[in-house]
């Protein structure tokens, strides 16, 4: 601070009034600009809304988006959650990405698992700790606290821990640090008074050292963590949750607190798989997506005719609904085939059949999808709906879209997801998928299996309002013959046909016959 005894210093140090002026004038804006620039430099895509607060990007897909740039730089963040909720993985990803993507060495202080255990656990999730340790970019220090081995004989402090940390940080110039899970100290040492005082000192020390720290804590009764760590870490708190409902598991992440920063407040689903952890930042993105004029062929000429001669809008959503055996999948396959012919990448989510089965079936009606798979234009994602919860499906669909970057997606059949969620859950999930697809101008086709003729339009009502185009396929029996009918119930932004046309599923695919006379009550397009 300013010393009034030294003339030189007092000249350099402005009086309170001068200081205020200086803040408004000369140095402060420059500092802000520098900060803004450095935020922008760490992740080009993110708009730095928070000019005061520097961020340390985690490199975890999705997390940097919902935190608007990452964790608070130079400050501690608490990650809490129950056993198996992914705390350690998230913390370790923050360190590994710090080294690999942002050139920031890190120190991982582990209290529960040995370095070897940790390395083997994380290796299966795509994180290679030993490699970074060998490169001198990472230090993993296992702190062993075994109460049965320790005799307390009087006053002590945790300076040993500080010495270890400081030595590790200094020896590799660490910028990031993880303490996982420091609460273990409470199990190993008996004096909570000393521990609390030392934890307070530790967090102050981390801030003084300008280390971006992640502290993990086990979820406690009545509080976020067992030992009330949230009291000490006041900058940012992230809560991880792993719920199993009806034998279906869903992982969620929520930012409980982020001082001085905008952040998403929802619960976000996240995935843990061989690629590590990724958070699905999709929430309701709002209705700001572009409306494209370009039209895409359905792959069936006569159906294009019914859609004012040109087919679907690019970036629109299409619902194909019908009872079993009406050829919903065939119609979707035609569209994918047409997209691939134009050289557009297509992503096909299957919730009922295997890709091989689907390709065989489509071959029988003259659609060769195999060639597109071989050329890398078509990718299948097949999953049993019951394998995960809705959120997880949403997250994995999001990830697949993000990685493959398709222009066209098919979800077949979307109604199978109803088996793992209520209608309103499915609707809310679909809203998120659709918002995301629209934002990226990806055309989305959804097939919907109607259980019976009479319930046809009821079942689809829940999701149809999310769709721009709704095509209904029906079968009826006339004179011991099944006849199939296609009609367009609605198609926003075009003068579509109101007729119900007969079609056949032939060895050359979906063939719409010449227009039949309009059947009463079926053509109520809107």
């Amino acid at each position: 601070m300013c010393s009034s005894h030294s003339p030189a210093l007092s000249r350099a140090c402005p009086s309170p009034r001068n200081r205020a002026k200086a803040r408004a004038g000369s140095w402060q804006p420059g500092t802000l600009l520098a900060k803004r620039r450095s935020v922008a430099a760490t992740n080009g895509k993110i708009v730095p809304l928070d000019q005061e607060l520097l961020k340390a990007p985690t490199g975890v897909q999705g997390l940097d988006e919902i935190t608007n740039g990452g964790l608070p730089r130079g400050r501690p963040t608490l990650i809490c959650g129950g056993a198996g909720s992914g705390k350690t993985l998230l913390a370790a990803s923050f360190l590994v990405n710090g080294v690999e993507q942002f050139g920031e060495p890190g120190v991982l202080m582990t209290f529960e698992e040995t370095s070897e255990e940790l390395a083997s656990d994380l290796a299966s999730l795509g994180l290679d700790l030993p490699k970074l340790v060998a490169e001198g970019q990472l230090i993993v220090d296992y702190v062993r606290v075994e109460r049965s081995e320790i005799e307390e004989t009087g006053e002590y402090d945790l300076e040993g821990l500080f010495v270890r940390l400081e030595h590790a940080v200094r020896s590799i110039g660490a910028k990031r640090i993880v303490l996982d899970t420091i609460e273990s100290l409470f199990a190993g040492l008996s004096d909570p008074g000393i521990l609390r005082a030392e934890l307070r000192r530790l967090f102050r020390w981390l801030k003084d050292k300008r280390l971006t720290a992640v502290i993990t804590g086990e979820r406690g009764e009545g509080g976020l963590t067992r030992q009330g760590l949230e009291e000490y870490v006041s900058d940012a708190v992230i809560l991880l949750d792993h719920r199993v409902q009806e034998q279906v598991s869903t992982r969620r992440l929520r930012i409980v607190k982020y001082r001085g920063s905008h952040h998403g407040t929802n619960e976000y689903p996240f995935l843990i798989d061989r690629n590590g952890l990724s958070v699905l930042p999709v929430t309701s993105l709002g209705l700001t997506h572009p409306a494209l004029e370009e039209r895409l062929s359905t792959g069936v000429d006569r159906l294009d005719d019914m859609l004012s001669g040109k087919g679907y809008y690019r970036g629109s959503t299409i619902l194909l609904s019908g009872t079993a055996g009406t050829g919903k999948t065939s119609l979707a396959a035609h569209f994918v085939d047409a997209a691939c012919r134009r050289g557009e990448r297509s992503l096909y989510f299957l919730f009922e059949e295997s890709p091989l089965q689907l390709m065989r079936n489509m071959r029988s009606i003259g659609i060769d999808l195999q060639q597109w798979v071989e050329r890398g234009l078509l990718q299948f994602h097949a999953d049993r709906p019951s394998r995960f919860g809705l959120e997880t499906h949403l997250a994995s669909m999001y990830r697949a879209v993000r990685e493959f970057k398709p222009l066209v997606t098919v979800t077949d059949p979307v109604t199978n997801l109803l088996t793992v969620g209520t209608q309103s859950d499915v609707r809310s999930m679909l809203t998120r998928v659709i918002d995301y697809l629209k934002l990226e101008s990806i055309t989305g086709v959804f097939t919907s299996l109607s259980p019976g003729k009479t319930e046809l339009e009821q079942t689809d009502a829940a999701i149809s309002s999310l769709m721009d185009t709704w095509i209904v396929l029906t079968i009826n029996e006339e004179q011991r013959q099944r006849r199939r009918w296609v009609s367009i119930l609605k198609s926003r932004g075009m003068a579509h046909s109101n007729t119900v046309n007969e079609y056949r599923l032939t060895d050359r695919g979906f063939q719409v016959l010449d227009a039949e006379s309009t059947r009463e009550g079926r053509a109520n397009g809107g």
Partner: protein, 111 residues
């Protein structure tokens, strides 16, 4: 000092073999804080009294050798490690509680 400390060791049930065992003790401190100094003093008094002539005490300042904090698993300071006789034991604190030091060094049985 409590009255019980004045009793000879044999009277409180220590095995005679222990009386001849050599103790190797390492005391880890951080600098010359009053707590460090107190621990050193307490321990020296203790050793003279209970382990006279059969101990080797080394005092290590982890500020000077920080890498030892990691290799020796030092968290709390002061920490006293009894390397021999086995089993290895850790005692933390300023060694002011003589009875706990006796227990910690396995001279007194755990009650």
């Amino acid at each position: 000092m409590t009255a019980s400390d004045e009793k000879p060791l044999g009277a409180i049930g220590a095995a005679p073999a222990q009386l001849t065992e050599q103790y190797i003790l390492r005391l880890y401190v951080t600098g010359l804080t009053s707590r460090s100094a107190r621990a050193i003093e307490n321990l020296q008094t203790f050793c003279k009294k209970h382990l006279h002539g059969r101990y080797d005490l080394q005092v290590i300042d982890v500020y000077q050798q920080p890498e030892l904090a990691r290799t020796e698993q030092i968290i709390a300071v002061p920490t006293l490690i009894k390397e021999l006789p086995l089993p290895l034991r850790r005692l933390i604190g300023d060694m002011s509680d003589e009875e706990r030091v006796l227990v910690g060094l396995n001279i007194l049985p755990r009650e």
